[in-house]
């Protein structure tokens, strides 16, 4: 009796186990036909994640970039680019902290349905994210983040030209004004601005009378201004971020300097407004300005103005083109498999394209290449001085 009961129990257990195994196999088959891991074809919804500083000192750039992503994704979803599949964008905040950025990326990587992510505008965040993305084989597209060590392989891309590659567009302005020497104040906090200060500017043909580095804790800009002006440069170069830009411009005007100042795009987005009249006269090269003439740029500007009621910043233009590039790659791959998307991005990068940043845009080593434009901060806001190499 006991033996019969035992046999029955054993048979029941075996049958149950077999049923469970079968169910599991069926479920796996069902899910793998929808999973991003191995199947062709696009799901109805494709999730992308934008990992950007939405709070903290770089929030102005991160939030502007997110607007560019949102606009592009809305247009892509309204079009037939993905054959009826829709992109869904999730925006997460790095707070301007590298470890937070890395953590957010790791979370995105663990979600196998995500075929690609948009990386942080901040170089220090990006430097933490790139090795993780490359090793985990997650395609990541940055905007800004112009430091060395950000684009490190086929999985890492940057839709912003390196400031050092287009900064020389300001040579025409320098030549037109007869500047033969410059004194530089820069922030050592930014790898991009450090590179421009120590490598790019010295190659512009001017004599460097003095170079001074400020740190994140520098409160007094009168002292570096005094030191720079003592060397009597033809023009002063200010490569700073955030409140340091209006503070330094004011310190320069208070010290009696009335000339133009060579700056950088971190002075845009209204950052010079607190300086009032003292901020007028800063000139800088940038990859995009809403007044540039390219038809594709003006199309983007019109769409942005219609959506947000304001002129777009370069951060939004870069993100717009980044989103379209990734979407085209997904469409070409016809898959959300990360390796397939990566291969499609490599193939797409061999073609030139027209976008918000201009026409005939190309890629080199995973980064967009363009000539740039030069703008000046005037009493009425930013004005485009000229476009192209101007050589």
């Amino acid at each position: 009796m006991a033996g019969t009961r035992l046999r029955t129990m054993r048979r029941t257990l075996i049958t149950t186990a077999a049923l469970l195994a079968g169910l599991t196999a069926l479920t796996a088959c069902g899910s793998s036909s929808n999973s991003s891991a191995s199947a062709k074809g696009l799901p109805d919804q494709i999730k992308l994640v934008a990992i950007n500083p939405m709070t903290g000192p770089a929030a102005f750039a991160g939030l502007a970039a997110n607007k560019g992503y949102e606009l592009a994704i809305k247009e892509i979803n309204d079009s037939d680019l993905l054959g009826g599949s829709k992109l869904k964008l999730e925006e997460v905040d790095t707070k301007g902290e590298a470890q937070e950025a890395a953590s957010k990326l790791t979370t995105a990587i663990s979600d196998k349905s995500i075929p690609a992510v948009f990386g942080s505008v901040l170089s220090q965040d990006a430097l933490a994210m790139s090795p993780i993305a490359q090793k985990s084989q997650m395609p990541i597209m940055y905007t800004q983040a112009g430091s060395d060590g950000v684009v490190i392989g086929d999985y890492t891309w940057r839709a912003t030209p390196l400031m050092g590659t287009y900064y020389s567009v300001i040579k025409k302005f320098i030549a037109d004004n007869g500047y033969k020497s410059t004194g530089i104040i820069y922030t050592s906090v930014s790898p991009t601005l450090t590179d421009v200060a120590t490598k790019t500017i010295p190659e512009l043909g001017m004599k460097i009378t003095k170079t001074i580095a400020t740190s994140a804790t520098t409160q007094d800009f009168a002292a570096p201004v005094q030191q720079i002006l003592a060397t009597k440069p033809d023009v002063v170069t200010v490569l700073l971020q955030g409140a340091a830009n209006p503070s330094t411009m004011t310190a320069l005007r208070q010290a009696g300097y009335t000339g133009k100042v060579l700056g950088n795009s971190a002075a845009s987005a209204g950052n010079l407004d607190p300086a009032g009249a003292a901020g007028v006269g800063m000139v800088w090269p940038v990859d995009f300005n809403y007044e540039q003439k390219a038809a594709s740029s003006q199309k983007f500007v019109a769409a942005y103005k219609a959506a947000y009621g304001e002129d777009p910043l370069n951060y939004a233009a870069e993100a717009y083109d980044a989103a379209y590039f990734v979407a085209r790659a997904i469409a070409a791959a016809d898959s959300t498999d990360r390796a397939a998307v990566k291969d499609a991005m490599v193939a797409e990068s061999k073609k030139s394209f027209d976008g918000a940043l201009g026409e005939g845009l190309t890629w080199k080593d995973g980064t967009i290449v363009l000539d740039g434009v030069v703008v000046e901060h005037t009493a009425d806001g930013e004005k485009l001085l000229y476009e192209g190499s101007g050589q």
């Binding site: 804790t217 005094q226 209006p246």
Partner: protein
């Protein structure tokens, strides 16, 4: 000459900011890490008011001081007093007060960041415009002169008040031994509230003058100054008014000299290295009283 003017102006900013923090730390034993956020928020409040009306610098200073005093009072009432009441001992109370201050500061920071998107903001909507005076090769603004005069005057007033007034004596007694002071009939809680309000008013005043001087600050600016104020107080000696002034001007002087004589990349390392050196020689700070341990 210009270096001296820059150092004195910068030192005055540090003194004005650190004075409030030193007052509470040296007397009621509250190391208020929301002091930087209160400093910033006072300026932020003035910035918001300027969106509606072009106020003068005088009115902005009054507004900043009221905002700072109110915020500090609230922090003491809502955060620090409950912590002190519930803590088992002084050690755990200190840690919890530190954390409470940091947490409160983060709330104020988040509000300002949300509104400004961390963009720089200033008080250029004010009806008061700054004037720059030049003579010889040097220059200084009227706001810089005002900051220096106000900082030194307030330092003298606060120092005198602590030394000569009954309330100052009571506060110093609390600083030595709060329990015994309470036994002597001193209202610790009431005095703590007043002291925090004064500290907050000083932070607010510093915030308005600093923003006018620098033209723009960001929501994070207060945190940077907090570190420097902490260094000034420790360098000069906790509880010493002479010490906080010494620390403020020494730090400002070191930074100015380094910024004008070097390429600037070693400023923080050398400035704070100097503080470490002083503390190795005098652990209680230059003007602090040496701790006596009875065995």
């Amino acid at each position: 000459m210009q270096e001296l003017l820059n150092a004195v102006t910068l030192g005055s900013v540090y003194l004005l900011f650190a004075l409030g923090m030193s007052l509470t730390w040296g007397t009621i034993d509250i190391l208020n890490f929301s002091h930087g956020a209160i400093f910033m928020f006072a300026s932020f409040s003035a910035y918001l008011m300027l969106e509606h009306s072009a106020l003068s610098l005088g009115l902005l200073i009054l507004l900043g001081m009221i905002a700072g005093a109110a915020l500090s009072f609230l922090v003491q009432f809502v955060v620090f007093e409950p912590i002190l009441r519930r803590s088992k001992d002084k050690g755990s109370a200190e840690i919890q007060v530190l954390i409470g201050g940091i947490g409160t500061g983060m709330i104020l920071l988040a509000i300002a960041q949300h509104k400004t998107r961390s963009n720089p903001f200033g008080l250029n909507g004010s009806s008061t415009e700054s004037t720059t005076w030049h003579w010889g090769g040097a220059h200084i603004t009227d706001v810089a002169v005002l900051t220096t005069v106000v900082a030194i005057s307030l330092w003298l007033v606060v120092g005198w008040w602590l030394r000569r007034s009954r309330q100052g004596l009571a506060l110093r007694a609390i600083g030595v031994d709060a329990d015994v002071a309470a036994l002597m009939g001193i209202d610790r809680r009431g005095l703590a509230m007043v002291t925090m309000a004064i500290s907050g008013a000083l932070a607010g005043l510093a915030g308005i003058l600093f923003t006018f001087l620098q033209v723009a600050i960001t929501p994070e600016s207060g945190d940077t100054l907090l570190l420097k104020a902490f260094a000034c107080i420790v360098l000069g000696g906790v509880g010493s008014m002479a010490g906080v002034a010494f620390g403020a001007f020494l730090l400002a002087g070191a930074e100015t000299v380094l910024l004008t004589r070097t390429d600037g990349s070693w400023v923080d390392a050398i400035s704070f290295g100097l503080i470490v050196l002083v503390l190795l020689i005098r652990p209680s700070g230059m003007f602090g009283r040496a701790e006596v341990r009875r065995t």
